[in-house]
Amino acid sequence: MIEFLPPALIMLLGAMLVGPTRGAWRTAVVLLTPLLTLIAIWQVPDGVVMTIAFLEYPIEPLEGSPVRRLFATIFAIMAFGGGLFAYRHAKWYELAAALAYAAGAIGVSFAGDLISLFLFWELMALFSTVVVWCGGTPAARAAGIRYAIMHLIGGVILKVGIEGVMVHTGSIEVQPMLATNFDTWMILIGILINAAAPPISAWLSDAYPESSPTGSVFLSAFTTKTAVLALILLFPGEPVLIGVGLYMVMYGIIYALLENDVRRILAFSIVNQVGFMVCAVGIGTQMAINGAAAHAFAHIIYKALLFMSAGVVVYRTGFNKCTEVGGLFRTMPLTAVCGIVGALAISGFPLTSGFTTKTLISQAAADQGLVAVYFMLAAASAGVFLHAGIKFPWFVFFQRDSGLRPKDAPWNMGLAMVLFSLLCVLFGVAPELLYRFLPYPVDYQPYSPGKVVFYLQLLLFSGLAFFLLLPLMRRTNTITLDTDWIWRVGLRHLWQYGESLTGRASGSLSALWGGLLARMTARVNYFFGGEDSRDGTPRGVFARAWPIGTTAIWIALLLTAYVTFYYVG
């Protein structure tokens, strides 16, 4: 028996209490649940803590290890920060769903076997969909349905893989594997769907920006990062992931550059950042896994901060698009400064958490002699500054004077942003605070003069490129087609085409059938008469009144035939 509650269960209980409580009690539930969960997370020792027999399988819903605790910790911190940001403005069911969603993420973090991993995985899918729906608009409802379908398909694929592994190896342990056969490929694909990997990255940028200004803060944190953790636990060193990660990095930049919706820019940049982590898991060395874990940790903080900053803008102005806002620094200085801190952190500027974590990944690539990977990651770092680091704050807070004079953030949103900004700087200034909790011992010094100078040059000249190319980046009221065109437009057109085709076919079929029916009816009427022939219309052959003489002739004929056959026989 264990002497404490599993962290995910605490979070889930808190989620259930949000509904029945009111006022200050609800606030207490929303804010204290993540903190209690955090305490419980740090009580989980290394190794399997809990085993339950299910069918013939030993279920291990609670297994501790440094990397698991690290991810669970940041999920709990995120739930707290998100709760603080949202609790005065979000609907109670959004808060409850967000906590349950976080419970799913923490459950995945500690899942020692594939069955409980799958269960918590689906818990996340379920409640994240609710968070998307809390956007409350018809667009949010439609996006939520698409989101749910994508995650249910992902879940089924994952389940197929898990069952395959269970049947073929007899083990349901969460342990490192490589994508070598059908089962492991299915698991990998199932996880990559949640990581927003190609070719279905579009679900993320489709759904997240449709949620409420508070909902997108929660959404930015859990799903993709649990996928990164699952990759770390199940597929460290899987070479496919390097290519997948690099594609995601570039996809995020290009699509974010073309995007006009503020939160969609940030959504694309999640794909970009997760690409760095996926690539690192693919490299698979201790340095790379440390980099993936550290970067996920830092990323959750600064990405939530960016979504908070954007959320405040959407909440205060009601506008979502770069073409609608601009010049907001005048009346929203706090939101602008916090947004800029987040933007600098995501770009990996020295003294921010992005620099101390992302350079671990570049170092890992360099150590392995992966020249192309190293240079692509460097180009991508420049691109991050371009698409998120400058583009986001520039178009929202500067650019031109939109004439909007909204109030700055409400105090709780401001506090949440300041807290997360401080964390971005803290882990940038004192990276060892984070390094000591990484899965492997860290022998890395991010602040060598050479590295700092290289990254400063890289980033500052990206900034120069941004401002010189500004005329090319003029925002337009457009969206950019993505692979989701296939199911949002292509498949529907195919369906409509099929419908019209069967419509035509059924038209000619029914004409044929109608003709046949008419002819048969005519024959039947000929013999049996119509439904009612008392009105003088000609009767059917069998229903006519025959004259007596005809009957006598027929009887005489029958009798003759009888007599003839009698004698012959």
């Binding site: 460097a378 500067f398 040059q457 969206i479 949002r488 529907r492």
Partner: protein, 102 residues
């Protein structure tokens, strides 16, 4: 929803309200100053490499100003590539909305 946005959008006219002097940061003089400071910072970031040797991993990344050139060129390429893709992939905002309501 759309109508509403459209309406409130029109009620907001770009530019500062009459009578409000523009913020310090947005004045042309400030912007000129910022460009000058930025240029100095750019020059410094490259020239400081003469003091601190950048020990590149692969030789080429240790050259003077390599980071600057590489960052600048990759950004230009990415913007141009995005622009190029945009020619084929950009659609009006209501592309999906119109389609999904029919």
């Amino acid at each position: 929803m759309n109508m509403e946005t459209e309406k409130s959008r029109n009620s907001v006219s770009p530019g500062p309200p009459p009578g409000e002097s523009d913020a310090w940061l947005a004045r042309p003089a400030t912007i000129r100053l910022l460009w000058r400071v930025f240029t100095v910072v750019l020059v410094l970031s490259v020239s400081v490499q003469l003091l601190f040797r950048v020990k590149g991993y692969f030789g080429v990344d240790g050259w003077l100003g390599f980071g600057a050139l590489y960052g600048f060129l990759s950004c230009v390429l990415m913007v141009l590539f995005a622009k190029f893709l945009g020619r084929f992939l950009k659609r009006g905002e209501n592309y999906h909305r119109v389609d999904e309501n029919d």
